[in-house]
Symmetry: C2
Amino acid sequence: MKIIGIEHIGIATESIEKIAPFWKKVLKLNHIHRETIEKMGVITDIYDTGRGKVELLEQTGQESSIAKFLKKKGPGIHHICLEVENIEEAISELKQADIQLINDVPLKGAEENRVVFIHPKSTGGVLVELVQKPK
Amino acid sequence: MKIIGIEHIGIATESIEKIAPFWKKVLKLNHIHRETIEKMGVITDIYDTGRGKVELLEQTGQESSIAKFLKKKGPGIHHICLEVENIEEAISELKQADIQLINDVPLKGAEENRVVFIHPKSTGGVLVELVQKPK
């Protein structure tokens, strides 16, 4: 598969409102997007660093993976997202390599992206998201 | 301060040897550097994604911050590193904003970089490293 680069870092938080000032006012990152993804049970608040984004993630309900993560590990970096050229090709190669996927059909993520999540068991403890952007 | 972008993501692991194949052989990231930083008690194994690096971090002894992190949170993403134009300017602005720093004089990191670490208490649980690269 062809990886293009780090697309974003996802940060799990109990309150975007509380932590956003650090990213926005202290680091002075550009705020570019805010979106509620009902299917995933998360609100995302997205900042551009100039090379890769920072995505603050807050749960909308108790059922989301963010809630589970906060319970287990506390607030902090939740995942890394890498941009790929072709998500179907990536999924096929990952399956061939016996890598454990959380979904093996691309999901719709923020900003109309198509995404797949790789299970931390296969990466050394890191939740890795791969994304193909709409053309 | 002027942030240029995500420089790398640091991943804490008990064994670089065990997890490197995923980043190197499955994702096919370019291996660019390996270094032991005695002062910080870590071995770093660095891969390029095309836009930002992935740094695998293994402790050299029991005293390192990696050992503490593994005990508390388990293996996974340890920190995010953002590149800044001027690290002294960044430190001065962070102090003015009452942000808690782990070191307030730049340390020497991997690849002759000068770095400062921001305490997770001030960021919403994320260990943030800022780096100014040598010119």
